[in-house]
């Protein structure tokens, strides 16, 4: 990370921060191209690419046909042979159509070829619920790609990290999948100007605390921080850890926190079972941090169903602040 001072940092939205990262990358490196559906004149379904096509032209900001399998594969092939493509899936749900190229090709080519090649492709996945777009446009499937050795998977929760992780992904020789929660696109936060990277594989402690560790991803980081404020008024001191990367996961930060607090809540939007929370819980259970636990681990994740359309139902099936409050109060009841 190059030295950044507070003074050259401005307030940007999460999507502006991503756009700035792509702008810097396109400006600095001829090998960088953007590919995706409606990322040119339309500016992207969520406006993330914006007017970059006007600055860099349609040869470098390429609208693909509606061909996720082919498009992702072209990005993989281009990355294999000298380009640095940033491929946008219009919604992360549509990456299901591109899974072959992600899972069988991008993730494995280096290994299968005995290290003779690398695939420096970056893929962006707008993910998550909350937009009323129902079951096929609201999923949180990051655990799918995080299950595949050969891929790196990040979930930035702030504008600063959205930019820094994208620039880090571009410098990474291996395929990096970036899951961007759609409800974060409009969120503002300080973003350093110029080029910097946020390390892949490193969690961030967003709030220090003594009583309970809340390990969260993406939008849940903000819900956890909101809950932590309320808990503080009740005398419960929560530590909030933003995982940021789910493969490779930052064991050290999580385990150190659990050793300190003795209580763990893991909160994420993906379906609860067989997700990020299972991995975090197992990490603790398999380590000496287990001995420090004063209470059972709590996982808060998405309900065991597709995301419903009706807004009340849509809200009810993913963890909300009151769910985190209840869990923290339950874990600390009568003990602090």
């Amino acid at each position: 990370m190059n030295a950044q001072t507070e003074t050259n940092s401005r307030e940007l939205t999460y999507s502006e921060a991503i756009r700035e990262a792509m702008d810097i990358a396109l400006g600095n490196d001829e090998r960088v191209i953007l590919m995706g559906e409606d990322i040119g004149v339309y500016g992207g379904a969520f406006g993330v690419t914006g007017d970059l096509v006007e600055k860099y032209g349609t040869d470098r900001v390429m609208d693909t046909p509606i061909s996720e399998l082919g498009g992702a594969g072209v990005a993989v092939g281009a990355a294999l042979t000298g380009l640095r493509p940033i491929f946008e899936f219009q919604f992360s749900d549509f990456a299901t159509l591109g899974m072959e190229q992600i899972v069988n090709q991008a993730a494995k080519l280096r290994f299968m070829l005995g290290g003779a090649v690398s695939v420096p492709v970056v893929m962006r996945f707008p993910a998550g619920s909350g937009t009323g777009a129902a079951a096929q446009h609201s999923q949180s499937l990051e655990a799918w790609t995080a299950h595949v050795p050969g891929l790196k998977v990040v979930q930035p929760s702030t504008p600063e990290d959205a930019k820094g992780l994208l620039l880090a992904a571009l410098e990474d020789p291996d395929p990096v999948m970036i899951y961007e929660h759609k409800l974060l696109y409009k969120m503002k936060g300080p973003v350093p100007a110029g080029h910097y990277t946020t390390p892949i594989g490193k969690a961030a402690i967003r709030r220090e605390g003594r009583d309970v560790s809340i390990v969260a991803t993406a939008i849940m980081v903000h819900k956890a921080l909101e809950a932590a404020e309320t808990l503080a008024r009740e005398g419960i001191d929560a530590e909030v850890i933003d995982l940021r990367t789910i493969r490779p996961i930052d064991r050290d930060t999580v385990l150190a926190s659990v050793r300190k607090t003795g209580r763990l809540i893991c909160v994420y939007e993906g379906v609860k079972t067989l997700g990020v929370g299972a991995e975090v819980s197992a990490m603790v259970a398999e380590s000496d941090a287990f001995d420090f636990l004063d209470a059972p681990i709590v996982r808060l994740g998405g309900a065991e169903c597709p995301i419903p359309y009706n807004p009340q139902l849509e809200k009810a099936v993913v963890p909300q602040v009151p769910d985190i409050l209840d869990a923290a109060r339950g874990l600390t009841k009568g003990r602090i």
């Binding site: 339309y42 609208d63 159509l97 009323g132 609860k272 359309y309 009810a316 099936v317």
Partner: protein, 341 residues
């Protein structure tokens, strides 16, 4: 019906005045449904998205003319029109659009998933191209089970660049299945024009690669759509295999709830609006003395009333219960982690 000369349009020669009047009513119902949906959205009553098919009514209704309730359709994200054309109840459609328990999907699906299996509508789809292989599967069932049913598969010009399109057409042809692929070519997949996305000029040219008949028609001409699709349906029903019909049409509104139209010109939009399929249908029916000028206005008024009543009833319907959010994931509940703590 007495034989009519060939210079009389196909639809007039083929369908009774009652069927034609009903088709005209359905076209109005689609237009009014879409306007009602748009209005509800603008008034902030909808949390979600929608894709309006204003301007494409002749294609939806024309393609369903020779289908019975046993015949199936698969639809798309822009599916309200197909749904009405296949005989859906607009009140249940609005209820779904408003996320109500009384909606076609009990409020779980919304605009992009409205389906009516009782009328053979296997559903809209949130995935571009998602319905294509499903339509082939429905045709496989019909053939194996000997039901005589035909499946009409609606999809857009954008969908023809998905692998699913090519795989589906090939299997349909290899297995000679009773399915008719209806590509509603409205020139754009979201912002990407067919010229910028598609290697062939006419999507119907792609039929040749799968050894099936392919034809392109004016999708705003109800009779032309009906003639082409009816012929393909008859062919499929007779066991002669699949066909592809491309209907050239245009969506008047933006891609989804809003859209800055930066990929097309005002002139282009105005040009297509001057070829309103509903106006053309009215002219067809009046010219051939199917309905009088007075009746034309009456049909529109009837559609307006039906839609107003549907919106009122659907708005007053109950929401689904939050405790039942995980219902219907499986036929029998095998795993209940419930909603978050």
């Amino acid at each position: 019906m007495p034989e009519l000369p060939d210079n009389v349009p196909y639809a007039i020669r083929t369908y009774s005045p009652e069927r034609l009047r009903d088709a005209f009513l359905k076209m109005h119902l689609i237009r009014k449904f879409e306007e009602g949906a748009e209005n509800s959205y603008t008034r902030g009553l909808i949390h979600g998205t929608m894709h309006l098919s204003i301007g494409q009514e002749a294609s939806a209704v024309g393609a369903c003319m020779s289908l019975t309730d046993e015949d199936k359709i698969t639809s798309t994200h822009r599916g309200h029109g197909h749904c009405v054309a296949k005989g859906a109840d607009v009140e249940k459609m609005f209820a779904e659009f408003f996320g109500k328990e009384t909606g076609y999907c009990k409020g779980r699906g919304g605009s992009m998933h409205i389906a009516d299996p009782s009328k053979g509508n296997l559903g809209a789809n949130g995935i571009v191209g998602g319905g294509l292989p499903i339509a082939v599967g429905a045709a496989l069932s019909a053939k194996r089970l000997g039901t005589g049913a035909v499946t009409v598969c609606f999809f857009g010009d954008g969908a023809n660049n998905e692998g699913a399109f090519h795989e589906a057409l090939n299997m349909a042809a290899v297995w000679k299945l009773p399915v008719v692929f209806v590509c509603e070519n409205n020139k754009y997949g979201m912002s990407t024009s067919i010229e910028r996305s598609t290697a062939v000029k006419r999507i119907s040219d792609r039929a040749a690669a799968y050894a099936m008949p392919g034809v392109t028609v004016d999708g705003n001409d109800f009779s032309a759509v009906t003639e082409a699709v009816d012929q393909a349906v008859a062919h499929a029903r007779a066991g002669e295999g699949p066909g592809l019909v491309e209907t050239l049409t245009y969506r008047w509104r933006g891609h989804s709830k809003s859209d800055r139209n930066r990929y097309r010109t005002k002139e282009e939009i105005a040009d297509w609006q001057s070829r309103d399929p509903i106006v053309a249908m009215a002219r067809l029916l009046v010219d051939h003395h199917i309905v009088s000028e007075d009746e034309i206005a009456a049909v529109e008024a009837e559609a307006t009333t039906i839609i107003e009543n549907a919106i009122a009833a659907a708005s007053a319907a109950p929401d689904p219960k939050v405790e039942e959010a995980t219902r219907d994931v499986y036929t029998a509940l095998i795993l209940d982690e419930g909603t978050p703590a």
